[in-house]
């Protein structure tokens, strides 16, 4: 449950979303009520059950290590909001790493 504005802010920050106070209140309340609805999953006994990730129990197909792509920088540039001298541009990042 999202019990506090602080918790909501933490999730919103992780998701890189922001909301004015009215929307934030609405969203937090919606998410809390959905979480309440989801709680009923706890009533199911899942002792010794392995999680199901894929509906069909199959294995990953492997691709032959060959190059099949050529430059598509023009197409990428055409759809990019801000692209100059073959680079995507974003506001200057101060730190020099992650």
């Amino acid at each position: 449950m999202l019990t506090s504005a602080q918790e909501f802010k933490k999730i919103a920050t992780l998701a890189h979303l922001e909301a004015d106070s009215k929307s934030a209140h609405q969203l937090a309340s919606d998410v809390s009520s959905i979480m309440g609805f989801i709680e009923q999953l706890r009533t199911v006994d899942t002792t010794a059950v392995t999680p199901l990730i894929h509906p069909l129990e199959l294995h990953q197909r492997l691709r032959v290590d060959e190059v099949h792509e050529t430059s598509c920088v023009e197409q990428l540039a055409a759809i990019a909001p801000l692209f100059a001298e073959d680079l995507y541009l974003v506001p200057k990042i101060i730190e020099s790493g992650k």
Binding site: L14, V73, L87
Partner: protein, 288 residues
């Protein structure tokens, strides 16, 4: 007070495949910006990953060479965080079940053999590059490197000195190049090392607070950075202060390390199994 150093090392080795881990773009170094970036690499809506067979084979080869367990049914997970050089907003990596685990590499350090325990080696895709000097007001992003195949090799915190660390790294480097699975070119970023370092009173079992060191692209820098950190930790602890858990960058110009981010600012990566990829099934043929 006598202190002892505890070091764990993480190496990201770029695998020497022709194409990327999940797309068939070239991996060659030095191409013009964004000329080796396919729609898959750029994370366009609707794209899907398909795994490179050679990368899997190379990981298995490495696993054999370090007497490790090759894990059948290892799977990929998404490491979620936002950064412009990470096109999908997540990195496809392995977390819970890496392809290789529990191996070792014996190193010869001045007539003494030490066994370095390698906890795990897993496959993951590389991110692109952020170029801060390319433009006056903006940072430029080149996604050529995005999607390149990496093998992340992690030791246990069993290394006790800068000398030992360098010895291990050089031995590992040699091995990777010998196996022909990595070209080992540190200038080009084919062999990158992060250091996790802490100190503790000699004889103590519990570990001290560690610092993660990044941006170390030569053996010389690694050695210097470790020495600097050992002193920095010692100075703090001996003056009654605490070591904060941080990620720091080594600055060659000043021979110091500077804070990049603290524990509080660390991301919650929300790892979960990638639903676009299926578990890797290793057969007896792969062991041949």
């Amino acid at each position: 007070m006598t202190w002892e150093t505890v070091i764990g090392l993480e190496v990201h080795a770029q695998l020497k495949t022709c194409s990327k881990l999940f797309s068939s773009s070239a991996t060659r170094y030095g191409a013009p910006a964004n000329s080796q970036t396919s729609y898959i690499d750029a994370g366009l809506p609707g794209i899907l990953p398909v795994l490179n067979q050679k990368a899997v084979q190379m990981a298995i080869q490495f696993g054999f060479a370090i007497n490790a367990t090759i894990n059948n049914d290892s799977f990929f997970e998404r490491k979620n965080y936002f950064y412009p050089d990470l096109p999908k907003g997540y990195q496809i990596s392995q977390f819970q079940r890496p392809i290789v685990s529990d191996g070792h590499l014996d190193i010869d350090d001045h007539q003494q053999t030490k066994r370095v325990e390698i906890l795990r080696a897993h496959l993951e895709e590389d991110a692109g590059k952020s170029l801060h000097e390319a433009h006056p007001t903006d940072t430029g992003i080149d996604l050529n490197r995005a999607g390149n195949p990496l093998l992340e090799i992690v030791t246990t915190p069993c290394i006790t000195s800068a000398k030992e660390a360098i010895c291990y790294l050089k031995t590992l480097h040699q091995l990777l190049v010998f196996l022909d699975i990595c070209d080992g070119n540190m200038q080009e970023g084919s062999f990158r090392c992060d250091v996790n370092i802490s100190i503790r009173p000699k004889g103590q079992n519990t570990l001290g607070t560690r610092t993660e060191l990044k941006n170390l692209n030569s053996f010389r820098f690694i050695e210097k950075a470790i020495h600097y950190e050992e002193c920095r930790h010692q100075d703090l602890l001996e003056s009654g202060q605490i070591v904060l858990q941080e990620t720091r960058l080594y600055c060659p110009k000043t021979n110091t390390t500077q804070v990049l981010r603290t524990k509080e600012n660390e991301n919650d990566y929300r790892y979960f199994p990638d639903p676009d990829l299926l578990p890797i099934h290793i057969t007896a043929e792969d062991f041949a």
